[in-house]
């Protein structure tokens, strides 16, 4: 007869796990990954696989050195690697990509205590660091092969991101035949992945709606043009940021009200940076700044428990 296992209730659990959550987000990025290969050729695949491998290796080695429990199995490092790759131009030298992975995993995540403890989104922070310190390589965009009409071959025609050039058609932006980072050009793939995550209950629709809604509203008020509004929504990294970065559990507010504030804040900052700042793109900076505000937002959006009596009221 086996010994009886004593534990506190509940004695049953949902089948969801941290690993499953991470794998579902990775799955949601696959359409974008496929689009990246279609538009930018096989080097896109190389870059993505490279980032995933380096990120997982960084996590593994780092945990080993710190003599902490091994956590590469939870899938979060792989996800960070893939997300970072999505935020890089296809021509980026591999050593620079590796540096990004190191910054994301070791500096931003592990040095702050690992999964769940980092205050800023690792992939976003790594992108911002790379952008600030290696600006030429990070903003070297090539025109995707699909734009020239022959996919899967590599050609180094330089192109500006549509946010700078402003000459891509809405259709180009939707299907992704325009210059930009791996994962950000194809709006269709991002929307598909994002809606999948919402449908699976992995992310809350509040953040992307608030984020995109704010950018759309602000652009419309500033320019009065519906066309410009859609252009701003689909160009640059906004969709990728709104669905995959601003919805990161760890670095964004935990309550629905907090998510709303976070989304609106990201939207306003993105709009301000794009229209009045010195950078053409503001998504990563906006999200990073809002990440820093997250603990404060959390503090001000604590839930009101059912039947709670506040101490102040009692004193009266």
């Amino acid at each position: 007869m086996k010994k009886l296992h004593i534990a506190t209730s509940p004695h049953m659990r949902d089948s969801i796990s941290t690993q499953k959550v991470m794998l579902l987000v990775i799955a949601a990025l696959l359409p974008s990954a496929v689009a990246a290969v279609v538009h930018f050729g096989w080097r896109a695949l190389l870059l993505m696989v490279f980032c995933v491998v380096v990120s997982v290796a960084c996590e593994g080695v780092c945990r080993q050195i710190m003599k902490r429990e091994q956590t590469i199995k939870d899938g979060s490092a792989a996800l960070t690697g893939l997300l970072l790759a999505m935020n890089l131009p296809v021509t980026l030298p591999l050593w620079e990509a590796a540096l990004g992975c190191f910054i994301a995993i070791v500096i931003v995540k592990q040095l702050f205590g690992g999964l769940g403890q980092n205050f800023a989104n690792p992939a976003i922070t790594a992108r911002v660091v790379l952008m600030v310190s290696l600006a030429p390589d990070m903003t070297h965009w090539i025109l995707p092969k699909t734009a020239a009409g022959n996919a899967f071959s590599y050609d180094a025609v330089s192109s500006a991101t549509p946010l700078v050039s402003g000459n891509a058609s809405i259709q180009d932006l939707f299907w992704g035949s325009t210059g930009g980072c791996l994962g950000e050009t194809c709006a269709a793939a991002i929307l598909f992945g994002g809606l999948f995550l919402i449908f699976m209950g992995i992310i809350s629709p509040v953040t992307p709606l608030a984020y995109l809604g704010t950018v759309a509203a602000a652009t419309f008020i500033a320019t009065g043009s519906v066309n410009e509004m859609f252009y701003q929504l689909m160009a640059g990294g906004l969709l990728l940021g709104a669905f995959f970065m601003a919805t990161d559990y760890v670095t964004t507010p935990i309550t629905a009200k907090g998510k709303l504030i976070f989304g609106i804040g990201c939207g306003l900052l993105t709009f301000l940076i794009r229209f009045y700042g010195s950078f053409p793109e503001g998504v990563s900076l906006a999200i990073l700044l809002m990440n820093i505000l997250t603990p404060y937002i959390d503090k001000f959006t604590m839930t009101h428990p059912f039947g709670a009596v506040s101490k102040k009221k009692e004193a009266k």
């Binding site: 009886l4 506190t8 049953m12 969801i16 039947g307 101490k311």
Partner: protein
């Protein structure tokens, strides 16, 4: 009105069609002196004393307690210390049955003419809440405030358990008469019976039996756990909020379990106090899931044997439901007044625990809108002020947060400890 949050669980009500079976009389029963919330009883019997069924064998001077009666006739063969599943000790009386089940000679249907006598009679019955918490029933019937609603808790929201469901199907007359008797004696104008929508048969039977009585309404509740939690039930039926530190009666409500009501009616008809228990035996290690009726104090091993439990496969034995039940350390434990189910499970591997990823699922399901993950963190810091600001005390340990946690954080465990921590000075 918006209903409170919760989770959808697989109902697993495999025993909904299994009528209560009365098992062969056990040779021995062990009756703990604490089967209720409140003061434990002192044994009133001596070793080798002859007792008969329904004879009072344990009582307490405290009002917040419930009398205990012999469940078999026979001889007191031991008065021992007994370690309850929650780890505390109490006295327990072992009675060896003579197989005759002679009823106690002084038992007769209680006679009462007014409210006080009615409540005194309820007190003598040893009635406690049969839903699992074991709150002494007479205590609920003596509120300071005027009571407007009698709410009968028939939600039975825990998976597997069907003992309330079976009671509603088999003892509908008793339930309705009992409600009418209580409403009359306590002058309560309205009664609601809250049943989860996953028990259509019970709803139909009760509706029929209530016979369009305007004072009794059967409310179909959404089958969302924890519908049967007292505060949730009261809010979802009446919209009233039982605030921190309040009792339901402060909101003009009394909540009683449906099986308790059925028992009270039988007691008022026969005078036989609470000496038997009807419960569900189920779990994936049980080959014959069933509902049984046994004398209080019967060994769990006996009922599990009847239910063809594969003892070699069991690794978790639970008294109560899978969401809030207590893990039991051994098979040779007595069935008490509050055991509405015994579940035996073969266990899957323990789940891997990761750090909290702040996904917010626990906030989204907490029926009381608490912040479980923040409460866990505050407890890890042993931060009393923070725990109070988060209203830790409101937590009813329903387990929704632990159930949905992808990181498998032991949230309920932490909350249980945190509540104790706040109580300690």
């Amino acid at each position: 009105m918006r209903k409170l949050k919760g989770i959808r669980l697989a109902h697993e009500k495999r025993t909904a069609e299994s009528a209560f079976v009365t098992l062969p009389l056990p040779q021995k029963v062990l009756i703990p002196m604490s089967m209720h919330m409140g003061a434990p009883c002192e044994p009133l019997v001596k070793l080798k004393q002859q007792v008969s069924v329904g004879e009072c064998i344990g009582a307490s001077d405290a009002f917040f307690s419930a009398d205990i009666h012999a469940s078999v006739s026979g001889t007191v063969t031991a008065i021992t210390d007994y370690r309850m599943p929650n780890g505390n000790y109490c006295k327990a009386v072992e009675i060896t049955s003579d197989g005759l089940q002679t009823p106690y000679s002084e038992l007769k249907p209680p006679v009462y003419t007014n409210r006080e006598e009615y409540i005194a009679a309820v007190r003598r019955s040893g009635a406690v809440g049969l839903g699992g918490a074991g709150f002494p029933t007479h205590f609920k019937l003596t509120p300071k405030n005027k009571i407007e609603y009698l709410i009968i808790n028939a939600a039975e929201c825990e998976p597997y358990i069907t003992s309330d469901d079976r009671t509603m199907k088999e003892k509908q007359q008793e339930i309705i008469s009992s409600i009418r008797r209580m409403m009359k004696m306590l002058e309560i104008p309205e009664c609601y019976i809250g049943v989860e929508g996953n028990k259509p048969e019970a709803i139909r039977i009760l509706t029929e039996c209530a016979d369009a009585d305007p004072a009794i309404t059967i409310v179909t509740l959404p089958p969302i756990y924890p519908q049967g939690a007292e505060k949730v039930l009261i809010y979802n039926i009446t919209g009233r909020i039982v605030a921190e530190g309040q009792l339901p009666s402060d909101q003009g409500v009394i909540v009683l379990n449906v099986s308790t009501m059925a028992f009270l009616e039988e007691y008022f008809r026969t005078g036989m106090p609470l000496v038997s228990r009807s419960l569900t035996i189920d779990g994936d290690a049980v080959d014959r899931p069933c509902n049984v009726t046994v004398p209080v104090g019967t060994s769990m091993r006996e009922v599990l044997e009847y239910a063809k439990c594969r003892f070699d496969d069991v690794s978790r034995l639970i008294g109560g439901g899978p969401m809030m039940g207590l893990g039991l350390p051994e098979y040779d434990m007595p069935i008490t007044k509050t055991n509405n189910a015994i579940l035996a499970f073969t266990m899957d591997k323990p789940a891997t625990v990761t750090a909290c990823i702040r996904c917010g699922r626990c906030l989204n399901v907490c029926p009381l809108n608490l912040m479980p993950t923040s409460m866990e963190q505050a407890y890890r810091k042993r931060d009393k002020a923070e725990l109070e600001a988060l209203h830790m005390n409101l937590c009813m340990l329903c387990g929704c947060c632990s159930y949905v946690c992808p990181a498998n954080r032991p949230l309920v465990e932490s909350h249980r400890l945190a509540k104790d921590f706040l109580r300690s000075k």
